[in-house]
Every structure is written in C-alpha cells, then in structure tokens.
C-alpha cells in the first residue's frame, strides 16, 4: 500500500498584476508517494516556482487543494502552517543561507525552532555535514564556501529536522554542471539509501533525467509524466 506524502488537487494560482490576471497555475494534479524522486521540468515562466511555493506552504492557492501527509493546508492557520513547514526540507536556487552563521550554525538553525538543545544540535549538524561531504568545512561561513559547497550546506540544513520530503527549487541552477552532477549524486544517494522523498524543480532536461519520475509543465499545466528507471 502506497503512502501519499504530497497531493495537489486542481491547483490554481492567479496573480494580479495591477488589473491584469496572470494565470501561473491552471489546475495542477500531482501525487508524490513516499520514497519518490520527482523532477518537475518546464521552461521559464511555466509555473514551477509557483507550484513549489504552494506545496511548501509558503503561499496560498487561488483555487484547489494542497494535501500534505493527509492534511489539507487550507484548514490550517498561520501557526499551524509554520509548524508544517518544519517538516519540509527546502533547498533554494540561491542557497539562502544566513551569511553570519558558519556551515554548522546554518544547519543548527532549523533545529532551534523546535527547541532542540545545544549539544544535540551540534552533534546532529556535524553528522549531517559529514553526510553531505563537508566534514572539514563546518566552520566556514557561506562567503568562504564554493557554490556547490553552499548547496550541500543547504541540503544538510533541509535534512536537519527529519523532513517528510525535500523540496528543491532549481538546486543546481546556480552552479556549474560538474558540481551540479555531484549535488545530484548526493540527492540520488539520499533518496536511494535513506529513502528521502524528493521533489525537485529544474529546467535542465539532463538533471531531470536523474529523477525516478519526470513531470513536464507548460503554461501552468502538467503536459506530460514520464516514469523512468
């Protein structure tokens, strides 16, 4: 029996640009099961980031539903949404690390939110950074790290609170292809070995090809689903 982590039902999002409505999503139906690795592929402006913001409970849909672990997000208030975000591991295109914290501090930060103790935080942050291959970069600040290294820190941070899934918006969008491959290897490994459910947005066909499933979007709609190896 399958375990649905994320489900969207007829998801619509219309932005108002002044008086001009922009239909970024026009009814998206998507289902992500536990252990899945889904790549959402599409050209610029097709609504990928909009979809990610809705799935990540960062924004509210104009119409339709987002259901995470069986909970309809429209039934939650702001505080409950904040709590729900703790169970989502965000990875952004621009890393979004806190510049004044070192790698370890950045990984520790999400753990302060549920109120984990200091030594526990430290131990777990060290383990996570070790897992993503940054054992000897723990005390570097983001400015002292390469793009690939920053994205590894971001992945370690995303995993800090044992999220029920990783939500990545163009994780390789801002790094060169060689480093991008290394990041993808890490993500694949996390998915295969640790069973981390992953939703990844990209406009890079080759990167998307490494996922188990590929969902193609165009003009706010899913136009094609490809099951891969």
């Amino acid at each position: 029996m399958k375990n649905t982590i994320v489900q969207t039902k007829n998801l619509q999002k219309t932005y108002m640009l002044g008086k001009v409505p922009v239909e970024a999503l026009r009814g998206v139906n998507l289902k992500v099961e536990k252990g899945d690795f889904v790549a959402i592929l599409g050209p610029s402006g097709s609504g990928k980031s909009t979809l990610m913001n809705l799935i990540g409970a960062l924004d509210k849909p104009t119409n339709g539903k987002v259901i995470i672990n069986g909970v309809d997000l429209s039934t939650l208030n702001d505080n409950q949404l904040a709590d729900l975000r703790k169970s989502i591991g965000f990875v952004f295109q621009f890393f979004n690390l806190i510049p004044r914290f070192d790698a370890k501090g950045n990984v520790e930060l999400p753990m302060t939110i549920p109120g984990l103790g200091r030594s526990e935080r430290r131990k777990r942050a060290e383990k996570l950074l070790d897992d993503v291959g940054l054992k000897d970069r723990m005390n570097h600040t983001p400015a002292e790290l390469s793009g690939g290294e920053r994205q590894r820190v971001a992945i370690a941070r995303a995993l800090a609170n044992n999220p029920s899934f990783l939500l990545m918006d163009e994780p390789t969008g801002n790094i060169d292809s060689k480093t991008a491959n290394e990041i993808m290897e890490l993500v694949e490994k996390l998915n295969k070995e640790n069973g981390v459910t992953t939703i990844m947005i990209t406009h890079d066909q080759q990167i998307a090809g490494r996922a188990k499933r590929m969902v193609k979007m165009l003009d706010g709609e899913i136009i094609k689903e490809i099951k891969q190896l």
């Binding site: 913001n53 990540g56 960062l58 924004d59 702001d78 505080n79 904040a82 709590d83 729900l84 975000r85 703790k86 169970s87 965000f90 952004f92 979004n96 806190i98 004044r100 914290f101 930060l109 999400p110 302060t112 939110i113 549920p114 109120g115 941070r157 609170n161």
Partner: protein, 429 residues
C-alpha cells in the same frame, strides 16, 4: 524557539553591525544619562538645600516679618506695602499670645560697610539681643574665637566667619579685639550721609556654611539697642519666635495666632513651610528636567525605529528563510523586540553609569564654584556643596524607561517583520 536561542540570535544580528548598533545605543545612553544626571543633581541640590535650611533655621522657630497678606514666604514676597511696620516693642505683645512661645527676639538688619585699616567690606549688620539670639541659634551663633557677651557694651561686634576671613587666603579682614568702623549710608536724611561709629570685634563666629534664615557667615552682629540708636529706628525686620516644641500642630497654631494678632499684616514663616515650598519647587523643576531629558530619549526611540526599519528591509530575505524553516510569526516578533531590548538594556545601563559620572563631575563645579568665583570684598555665604543623589528608584526607573522606550519604538518594525509573507520575503532582492 527557546528564549535563550531567540536572544542569542538577536544578539548575533546586533553584533554584525557594530557601528550601527553602537550609534543606536549611544542615542539611548545620551537620553538616559541626561535623565540620571539632571535628576540626581536636582535631588542632590534639594537634599543639600533642605539640609542647610534645617541646620540654619532651627525647626522650632518661627520668623515674623512685616508685609503679610498671606502666611508663608510666598505671601510675604512681593506683598503690597501697606505702611505696616514691625516694631522692636512688638516682641512683648507676641509673648502673650501663646503658652507655646518660649522665647522671642527682634532683629534689625541694615546693609552697611565695615572698615578695617585699608579695607572696606559690604556686610549685613544685624542688631540682635546677643543672649536671646544665641539661645535660639545655639548651634550656629557660636564663637570660634573671642566670646559673645550676654551683656554686651554698645561697641561690641560679633563678626561672621567670612567677614573675618573674606578672601580665604590667609589674610584676615579683622580679628578679635580689632577696632573697626561701621559705616551706614543713611538715605533718610537730605543730603544722604554716611553715619559711622567705631566698634570692637569681640568674637568671630565659627563657620556655618550654606545659608539659612538664621546666622550667616557674611553677617555682622551688633547689640540691638546699639542698632536702634545707630540706625535711629524702632522698626525691626523680623521677630524670631522660639517655640516650646517643633510639632507641626504647634507651628501651625502659633503661626495662625500671630498672623491674626497682627491682622494679617505679617508673614509667619516656619522651617517646615519653607521646606515644603522647597520640595514643591523641586518637584516642578524635576518634572521639567525629566521632560527635557525625556525628549532626548524620544529622539533615541525614533533612532531605534529608523534603524530597525532599515534592518527589516535588509533582512527581509532572512525573515523569509526563518519562516520557510518553520519559525512562527510571534517568534520573528520576539527576535526583533529582543534586539531592541538588548540595545535598550545596554544603552540604559551605560546611560545610568555615565549620567552618574556626569552628575558627579558637574556637581564638583557647582559646589566649588560659588565661593571660588566670588570677588573679594563681596563675600557670599559659602558654596552649596551638592552631592548628586542616585536613588534605587532613579536607577530602576531610568533603566525601565530606556527599555520601555526602546521596545515601544521597535513594536512597529517588529510587527511588520512578523507579518511578512514567506513567499514575498523570499522573493525580496
């Protein structure tokens, strides 16, 4: 987030911009320091004035002066001249008014010169009955050298400390046994002329310091009878009444009896009345000073608000990250308020210390100043030594005020930060 995590997060954010935080803190420091300095000096001044009034003005005495229309110093000053004069003989009349009156004595006062050798000094000549006066002011009308005779001859003179030693440089104007000329510019005759007699200094008073309505360092005392004949008058400037006790009821009672007996033509001043006026005046002054200092703190508050709005814009993305990681709005609010609280707390603490330091330095100038700058020949009645008073109420009040101002002005920016929508905050460039 745990409280200590919130604080350490806020502290980290402040430390990142040391100069900016320093300047914001400086604003609070100046405001609090101004409050503490002004209020502690003013409280010190009040304490020292009250103290000197108490010592220079025995609490069991009343002072009766002409020109009534009201009791107390406020009615006396500036009262219209009704032609009423207080006479030396009125003492006998006052005596019979109440059983609580123990002793009474009249004083004639004239501004005069005394001449000793080459030097001339301006002084207030007080015609007093030595025996009665020294009984009423037994703590202050005391000879340092020589003796105050209870049955003085007409030429006897008792000089205040600053009359004997006006320049405080080792050279004395006069000493015991010196003969001095008393010169009074008599303006009652035409043409005005100087009246003169030669007296003999028989006693120098010990230093009294400060001021009061009783004996003073810059006064000269001659027998009352001599004053009556020399100044050719039966009028006296005041009558001092010593009461059997210093209960407020007795003071009020006798004050009223005397005022009524003179048909409201006299003012009766008691030390408690003066003290209460002094304390009223100081409350007003303190309110005014606190208001001025408060304005500077208000400016500091606006500075905090300004800085926090800038910081809010700079950190919009950071707020977005925090929210994406699951931070609740109220935690974001708490982080921003903590930053203001840290600034307010550090600023207030430094402000209290530097305000206190400022007050101490400033009061050094104040205290030392008065007698130091007085020109020779015109001695004033000693300096007012002011020790700034820093009460726990003032310390805690100032700290709380600094903290509250900081928080109040941070409320709006903090609220705005907490209300940011995660998507908007993350998209912010």
């Amino acid at each position: 987030m745990k409280v200590n995590d919130i604080f350490s997060y806020a502290f980290g954010a402040i430390r990142l911009r040391k100069l900016r935080a320093g300047l914001t803190i400086l604003g609070v420091v100046i405001g609090i320091a101004a409050i503490v300095a002004l209020l502690s000096i003013s409280q010190g001044l009040q304490a020292s004035i009250s103290g000197q009034l108490e010592s220079g003005f025995a609490t069991d005495t009343l002072i009766v002066t002409a020109g009534g229309l009201g009791s107390g110093i406020d009615g006396g000053i500036g009262a219209p001249d009704t032609g009423f004069r207080l006479l030396v003989n009125d003492t006998t009349f006052i005596n019979e008014l109440s059983a609580d009156i123990e002793l009474w004595t009249a004083i004639i006062q004239r501004s005069s010169y005394i001449e000793s050798g080459e030097n001339t000094l301006i002084t207030t000549i007080n015609g007093v009955v030595f025996e009665e006066y020294s009984e009423i002011y037994s703590n202050t009308f005391v000879a340092e050298s020589g003796t105050i005779s209870s049955t003085p001859g007409n030429e006897e003179i008792v000089a205040g400390k600053r009359v004997s030693d006006p320049w405080e440089n080792g050279t004395l104007f006069c000493s015991v046994n010196d003969n001095v000329n008393v010169i009074w510019p008599n303006a009652a005759v035409r043409p005005p002329q100087n009246e003169t007699y030669t007296g003999n200094v028989t006693a120098i008073l010990q230093e009294i310091g400060g001021f009061g309505i009783g004996p003073s360092d810059s006064s000269t005392y001659i027998p009352l009878s001599q004053a009556q004949s020399f100044f050719d008058t039966d009028e006296c400037e005041m009558i001092i009444v010593k009461l059997s006790n210093s209960d407020q009821a007795t003071i009020d009672d006798v004050s009223e009896i005397i005022t009524n007996a003179f048909n409201g033509q006299v003012s009766v001043i008691s030390s408690t009345a003066v003290l209460s006026i002094v304390s009223t005046i100081f409350s007003t002054i303190e309110l005014f000073l606190a208001g001025i200092a408060g304005i500077s703190l208000l400016v500091a508050g606006i500075g905090i608000m300004n800085i926090m709005i800038v910081s809010l814009m700079e950190r919009t993305r950071e707020i977005g990250i925090l929210k994406a990681l699951g931070t609740k709005s109220r935690t974001v609010l708490a982080i921003f308020l903590s930053e203001a609280m840290i600034v307010g707390l550090i600023g207030s603490a430094i402000g209290v210390v530097s305000g206190w330091a400022l007050a101490t330095v400033a009061s050094g100038f104040l205290g030392g100043g008065f007698s130091g700058v007085a020109p020779p020949g015109a001695p004033v009645s000693g300096g007012i030594a002011v020790t700034p008073v820093l009460t726990p109420v003032l310390i805690l009040g100032a700290m709380a005020f600094g903290l509250i101002i900081s928080i109040i002005f941070a409320l709006y920016p903090a609220w705005r930060a907490s209300k940011l929508k995660p998507v908007d905050a993350l998209r912010y460039e």
